[in-house]
């Protein structure tokens, strides 16, 4: 009798005390990506996938609706886009894991930056149990006053590290005079043209910048003429690390995604699974997108195209 009562007592205690543990998402000890200066929102511009940063070139007077912009939403939530110079101020609620299209209107008068903010809401019982942070993104729209050549690029650079940008400079040889200006800093140096490319170093522009965003405008002046360059750089915190790329294994009609243990949700196209490991049905005859997402807004995106049959991943 004593044994029976003890077993019942402990079984009951276990059941009762265990009730509070349900509906927990995997936590991420990383600092939030947004406040660390690391853009991680997924969006598509002119049919190309952009992770955090993207760029597009227009001629002055072009219609802004020539920009095909779609932003990926997760679960449900709100996507907000803002741009003063491109006259954009939109906030759209979405209710599923889906690409949300944005219609732009009016004429392109001057260059602009479109700030993208994705605020996801996990299913209610999970959303109330964990702090969830937003994902940021930025699209650089370079509007050229004339039909002159331009090169646009975007980079995420860890604070006090260096990244190179190889700028194509066709037909040039010898050296070019590189002049840049951004965030009240001037840069002017002679750089070599090697294999029709000019290598620009981010550190020469950033100096001691800790976390910030800056669009460096500049030009290369050499034998092949003037090439305008716009380089949008986000400097992210040293204690922040991008989310590792998930492991993806295709096994016949199924695909298994194993992401970092900090990942709260794994998403294949418009189907999600909470947790860092997931198995989905697979059809290799159509393009697919796999995403891993943490509650701190870190994300990794892998794209499978039918042609090439390989994953192209961004983190």
């Amino acid at each position: 009798m004593r044994k029976v009562s003890s077993v019942l007592f402990f079984a009951m205690a276990l059941v009762l005390s265990g009730q509070g543990c349900a509906h927990k998402l995997n936590l991420d000890p990383s600092p939030p990506s947004g406040s660390s200066g690391y853009p991680s929102a997924e969006f598509w511009v002119q049919g190309r996938l952009a992770h955090g940063l993207g760029e597009v070139v227009l001629r002055k007077g072009d219609q802004l609706n020539g920009i095909q912009l779609e932003v990926q939403g997760y679960f449900s939530g709100t996507i907000r886009i803002d741009s003063g110079y491109c006259h954009l101020k939109k906030s759209v609620n979405y209710s599923d894991t889906e690409l949300v299209p944005f219609e732009l209107s009016g004429k392109a008068e001057s260059s602009c930056l479109i700030n993208i903010l994705v605020s996801s809401v996990y299913p209610s019982s999970y959303d109330s149990a964990t702090l969830v942070y937003e994902l940021k993104g930025q699209l650089l729209v370079k509007v050229m006053p004339t039909d002159k050549p331009v090169y646009v690029a975007s980079s995420k650079v860890k604070a006090r590290t260096d990244t190179g940008l190889a700028i194509p400079y066709d037909g040039g040889f010898g050296g070019v005079k590189a002049t840049f200006r951004g965030c009240d800093q001037d840069y002017s140096e002679r750089l070599s043209v090697i294999d029709s490319q000019v290598l620009m170093r981010s550190q020469a522009l950033l100096r001691d910048m800790y976390t910030d965003q800056c669009t460096y405008e500049g030009y290369l002046d050499g034998t092949a003429g003037i090439l305008r360059v716009s380089w949008n750089i986000w400097v992210y915190a040293r204690d922040f690390s991008p989310l590792p790329i998930p492991k993806i294994a295709i096994d016949g009609r199924y695909v298994t995604v194993t992401a970092d243990p900090t990942v709260a949700a794994v998403i294949l196209d418009d189907t999600y699974s909470l947790g860092n490991v997931a198995r989905f049905k697979w059809d290799s005859g159509v393009p697919h997108t796999v995403r891993a997402l943490t509650v701190k807004g870190r994300s990794a995106v892998c794209r499978w195209e039918i042609f090439g049959s390989e994953w192209k991943c961004y983190q």
Binding site: F9, S17, G84, K89, C112, N115, G182, C183, I226
Partner: protein, 99 residues
């Protein structure tokens, strides 16, 4: 008034004493103990509710988005104006030297 922390001890004592007696008595005490334990775990269970905090975070981020954009675009245009001016001057110099 009984302190809430003593509820598990009371429940366990009742249950163990009742086990010495017959089944009907034990079952009665088991039900009472269950209620005591339920009340205890309910009082002690930490249920953080972040939904309000998440809502606040979303509102703050949304309010910041146009502000961040305005700062970034102001810097972009300042730089672009200077560069376009330099290019114009450089082109004018090149044309002058050609003549």
């Amino acid at each position: 008034m009984l302190p809430i922390d003593s509820l598990p001890t009371i429940a366990a004592t009742l249950l163990l004493n009742a086990s010495q007696a017959g089944w009907p008595s034990f079952l009665t005490v088991f039900v009472v103990s269950s209620i005591l334990l339920f009340l205890y775990t309910k009082s002690r269970r930490i249920k953080p509710d972040y939904s309000k905090k998440n809502k606040e975070l979303r509102q703050v981020s949304e309010a910041r988005n146009p502000v961040d954009n305005a700062i970034a675009e102001a810097q972009q245009h300042k730089a672009e104006d200077v560069i376009e001016d330099l290019i114009r001057r450089s082109e004018e110099d090149a044309n002058t030297s050609k003549r």
